[in-house]
Amino acid sequence: MNWFKYSSPQSFFPLAGKLAFWFGALAAIACAAGLYIGFFRAPTDAQQGEAYRIIFIHVPAAWMSMFLYLVMAFWAAWGLAFNTRLSGMMASAIAPTGALFTFLALWTGSLWGKPTWGTWWVWDARLTSELILLFLYFGFMALQAAIDDPRRADKAGAVLALVGVVNIPIIYFSVKWWNTLHQGASVSLTKAPTVAAAMLTAMAVMAFGFWFYSIAAALMRARCIMLERERASEWATDYARASA
């Protein structure tokens, strides 16, 4: 199999369309199942009552906010190293979805913090570093939007994305390194989970749902970017005419 076949926008475009559709469908199924388990199978929390049910979007959104940044930085680095056209397009395609999940992690965290901590916001290490992540996404998008030549925009964005990677371990380990109001990890690879099985299942299924959604959204956006950047090429105009 020739792996380089799909490294050109022309041949990746139709594949991205098919993948976006199927990952979108999987995302809808996973989110429906996750919400069902979360609202109708998971028990009420002994300390927090029903307020804890925000966890089913808060934790997956926070995971995705960090994971998408790493994927974005990976494509940015790949583009810098090998100067491949598609890499920069993928990095730009991921950024807005990453920013969306970062905002949602902050928003749902705030709505969860008020009834449980008694405050919407504190400047503790976890919350502050997650806010910095949102600004990194915004900075990446603003920088790319400010540069007309897409290849130069990709390079500048890639440098910013790579410098910002240092923030990801800071977010992840912030609850260990500093004394924060935010609780430590409920799910860990080294310890038995500290939450009920149905809660854990709902959270995991929602995480898969958000992950599949991110893939679908990023691929949809990558297709738009391909059409915009390759507007001078024949395949793009042919596709536009055929889809009229």
Partner: protein, 59 residues
């Protein structure tokens, strides 16, 4: 988990504002992202179909 009634479900044990405030904003923003992506694709295609009428080098 048995909520008993729709009212109980919607009340979320008194945390309706916080729980539904989280879920509705998430749903709304995801929906908005999908609509924006569809509009972006549509305008990219419309622009491509106009190609030939636009000046060279024009976006």
């Amino acid at each position: 988990m048995n909520w008993g009634s729709l009212e109980n479900f919607l009340a979320m044990g008194g945390y309706a504002f916080y729980v539904w405030g989280s879920y509705l904003v998430t749903l709304g923003l995801v929906f908005a992202e999908i609509v924006l992506l569809m509009l972006r694709k549509r305008s990219a295609l419309a622009r491509l179909r106009l190609r030939g009428t636009a000046a060279p080098g024009e976006r």
